[in-house]
Symmetry: C2
Subunit: 180 residues, 2 copies
Amino acid sequence: MALAHYPVVNRQGVTIASAVTNLDIHDIARAGRTYGISGYYVVTPLSDQKRLVESIVSHWTDGVGAKHNPWRAEAFRLVRVCETIEDAADRIRVREKVSPLVVATSARRHDSPVNIGFIRSKLEDVPVLLVFGTAWGLAPEFLKSADHILEPLAVRGGYNHLSVRSAVSIILDRLLGDGV
Amino acid sequence: MALAHYPVVNRQGVTIASAVTNLDIHDIARAGRTYGISGYYVVTPLSDQKRLVESIVSHWTDGVGAKHNPWRAEAFRLVRVCETIEDAADRIRVREKVSPLVVATSARRHDSPVNIGFIRSKLEDVPVLLVFGTAWGLAPEFLKSADHILEPLAVRGGYNHLSVRSAVSIILDRLLGDGV
């Protein structure tokens, strides 16, 4: 999966590069390791933000943090920093010798979304890159270019303002959890 | 539900009062509002920590934050600060005119745990107070006094180190989500 800090939109719908949130790295690496994903790409084109993520990751995989908390180290070994979502897809293509299916997520409903069952069935045949946006969500230009858009986590009350950390956790559980 | 900062254990298994994490308030309030819970009790016996949570909550419900982000205000209105888990149960008892069933959560398996289906069936008859621990989990003395302990989120790989934010999100989705 990938967590994109670009291209995402701000409150006004303008495409921006957002700042990295430390707990996004921790929580999503831990959830990713729990559900057995093969890589967690933190996408940011900003070189200072890339360095920040790399230093956090190395603290937990090689540094004091790794000794302090070996479970955390195991989760952080999934984290790879890259500049664009396309870079993440390229790395998967090189490793798996096949292009991944790129699936965007969104809290809003778009035309012809796919559901969790569809993604789960695809996973048997092809690597899937599940992309989550920070800030106010993935930018329209990326949504247009993705192979599919996952339907939003519809909920009975109509309130749909989960943190990206919660949304990732719930979607991984629905896709890969033992309740499946 | 309640998020307990006391009584919880540290890495050595000693009972402590943990510090409040800002994003725990945000993420869990948002998830709680999404899934329609009726109250989110942040439990801490430390008066400076109580004041801290109260000032964060009032920023988002009455202050600048409420204007800036009305959705967040809606989520934060679920937050109540209290000193003990028993206080939270008492407030529910007063409001609902019946004692809530107190269900503890744990990442470890205990004797005679109950499953999500059991809790869901109870919800039809009685208020349920679902209690999550911070730090290294709820202290044994509380686990012993709870009415039930929910079975852990067992996962195929055996790695079980989710953040409390992820665990709450996944359990609310399994208990109250539309996939149910």
